[in-house]
């Protein structure tokens, strides 16, 4: 699995579904970002032929939810929802529980 440097603002799309994400916060170094058990694609990359979603990683990823790793050094925003669990270096990401604020503007 090819590792890539992640930086805030970067966009990735799933190779096996409609899922798209934007990087909000990223740890230093190179990492493997996955969706549905398959590496996600950067800007102009296209999905390799024949890739398929791993049945074990076929959970729903929801638009507008933020996804984080355990120490929250990585934070992604799902900008388009679809099938496929998000993962970092093979470990599934969790939905970040947002503190609900009253609307102020």
């Amino acid at each position: 699995m090819a590792n890539t440097a992640l930086k805030a603002g970067g966009r990735f799309k799933s190779a096996v579904s409609d899922v798209q994400i934007m990087v909000i916060k990223a740890p230093a170094g190179e990492h493997a970002l996955g969706c549905g058990g398959v590496p996600m694609l950067g800007g102009s990359e296209t999905a390799p032929e024949g890739v398929q979603m791993d049945a074990a990683d076929s959970g729903e990823t929801l638009i507008g939810k933020r996804y984080v790793n355990e120490d929250e050094s990585l934070e992604l925003l799902c900008t388009k929802g679809g099938k496929g669990t998000l993962s970092l270096n093979g470990t599934a990401l969790e939905v970040k529980q947002a503190k609900q604020l009253p609307s102020s503007d």
């Binding site: 805030a8 603002g9 970067g10 966009r11 934007m22 990087v23 909000i24 638009i63 507008g64 939810k65 933020r66 925003l77 900008t79 388009k80 929802g81 947002a98 503190k99 609900q100 604020l101 009253p102 609307s103 102020s104 503007d105």
Partner: protein, 500 residues
């Protein structure tokens, strides 16, 4: 990272939902996006490097925020109440410009060779075809999304810079995507050139909450629009809430607004009597006080509905007075108070307010970043934090009266004078004094038919505060000068005392 993602997501999730209403005009998120696409293409083709808006609120203002983002140029809304000379000076600083305006305001603009001027109606008339490819949007988080000219008290207005990463951090950190119900609507009365005008577009679009725009505020019209559009949320500056309260009290009517659930206010100091009366008039409404600055991408502290109710119901004076605070830091920022030597101070000790967080830009185009080495932004507001982290504001650092080396905050004297039953409004400012350098002066507005003497008011202050706080001069006025967004213009009051 680009704030256009906000509209993309709303259009993706709820494309048919109405995003903005103004008079008879209504636009869905899909229509807003296609109109913004078309405008972005025009901006790019013109070679402009700024999108300037010189207009009141309309759906074109909403489109402009996102069209600038799709075109990768800063959005620069201008204060349309400025003089033609001032406006043209600001345009010079945002050139080459693609400028959106209306027929009434066009006369204020001097033509320039490097400027493309279009009418709001032209922008709204053109939509990109549904199958057109989306624009190539940059994802540089450091690109400038918004440039706002602040209303400086001295010298030329400063150009505050908000980058895409600042605004996205603010929205993602404080708003839940698609949190609004289909029937929700927010009534927006702040002009497009105010930071709250921009943040309301971004927050509401991200929450997928319909925005009802009101180009010119009027209390009776505000109540009528609330009812007609079944408005659920609204943001007001203090003077607007004051006028609504006065209108209701004068007409003796109770507001019939069953849909209204939440009223947020900010942008200036809210008189305690106004908020207390508003809570009586709107018993079923949640009140939220928001504190923020242009340089912090809007809200950094919030006094929420539960804080309001708790303070109003408490028998503990320490909790009661929180109705006069601006609440606690949102989860997205930190707040610190420092003394004159830049050292953090303890609980309940007044000093300078500093803010830190990814939404804080603290940056001006000419002057550069104002953040210190640890990322803290000096707001130049004075205030203190109580034991539970509630922030109280005393006013701007520039407004402090320095009498014989002693720093005096005008706010503490004003609060005492406002407890007098005859006093409706008051501003304390510095006046030149031979002996002390500066002395305290007060401009007082009395309630209709009420009376109070200078001596009586001086005695009131002397009884509650140190003698150095007693205003040396007091003048009675019919009204105090306020900006159209509710900020007390202390500079104007000061000038009057300086001249005497």
């Amino acid at each position: 990272m680009n704030i256009s993602t906000i509209l993309d997501m709303a259009a993706e999730a709820f494309g048919d939902r109405i995003g903005v209403v103004c008079g008879d005009e209504r636009m869905s998120y899909t229509e807003l996006r296609e109109t913004a696409y078309a405008a972005a293409q025009r901006i790019k083709a013109s070679g402009a490097q700024y999108l300037v808006l010189l207009d009141v609120n309309s759906p074109a203002a909403t489109v402009a925020v996102f069209a600038a983002a799709y075109a990768d140029v800063p959005y620069v809304p201008l204060n349309y109440r400025l003089t033609p000379t001032e406006i043209n000076e600001l345009i010079e600083r945002a050139s080459p410009a693609y400028l959106i305006t209306s027929a009434e305001l066009r006369a204020k603009i001097q033509p320039r060779d490097d400027m493309t001027v279009v009418d709001r109606s032209e922008v709204l008339a053109e939509q990109a075809p549904e199958d057109a490819p989306p624009p190539e949007v940059g994802d540089d988080p450091r690109a400038v999304a918004v440039q706002l000219f602040t209303s400086g008290t001295t010298g030329k207005p400063k150009a505050a810079i908000l980058r895409h990463e600042n605004l996205m951090s603010y929205i993602v950190g404080t708003v839940e995507f698609a949190a609004a119900d289909e029937d929700d609507a927010i009534l927006v009365t702040v002009p497009p050139y105010h930071i709250a005008g921009i943040s309301s577009v971004l927050s509401s679009t991200y929450a997928c909450r319909r925005v009802v725009q009101m180009p010119n505020f009027d209390a009776a019209e505000w109540l009528r629009l609330c009812a007609q559009e079944r408005v659920s949320n609204a943001f007001l500056v203090p003077t607007m809430l004051q006028r609504i309260v006065e209108h209701l009290d004068a007409s003796g009517t109770k507001p019939e607004l069953p849909a209204l659930r939440a009223l947020a206010y900010g942008g200036g100091k809210m008189p305690q009597t106004t908020i207390a009366r508003a809570m009586q008039l709107f018993p079923n409404v949640d009140f939220t006080n928001a504190y923020g600055l242009t340089e912090t991408s809007s809200t950094v502290a919030v006094l929420g509905p539960d804080d309001h109710r708790e303070a109003a119901a408490s028998s503990d004076p320490y909790v009661q007075k929180r109705l006069g605070s601006v609440g606690r830091a949102t989860g997205a920022v930190e707040i610190q108070i420092r003394d004159d030597d830049d050292r953090p101070v303890g609980v309940d000790v007044p000093g300078y307010v500093f803010v830190r967080g990814p939404q804080v830009s603290g940056e001006y185009k000419q002057q550069g970043s104002q953040l210190d080495s640890e990322g803290w932004f000096p707001t130049r507001d004075r205030g203190w934090l109580d034991r539970d982290g509630y922030l109280y504001l005393e006013g701007r650092a520039d407004d402090v009266i320095v009498r014989g080396g002693e720093n005096i905050s005008p706010g503490e004297i004003e609060d005492v004078l406002l407890t007098h039953p005859a006093v409706a409004d008051v501003a304390c400012v510095a006046m030149p004094d031979e002996q002390w350098g500066e002395a305290v002066a007060a401009a007082v507005v009395l309630k209709d038919g009420a009376s109070a003497s200078v001596e009586e008011l001086q005695t009131l202050v002397r009884g509650k505060l140190r003698s150095s706080r007693v205003p040396q001069a007091i003048v009675f006025k019919d009204a105090l000068p306020y900006s159209e967004t509710g900020k007390l213009l202390r500079r104007v009051v000061r000038q009057e005392f300086a001249a005497t």
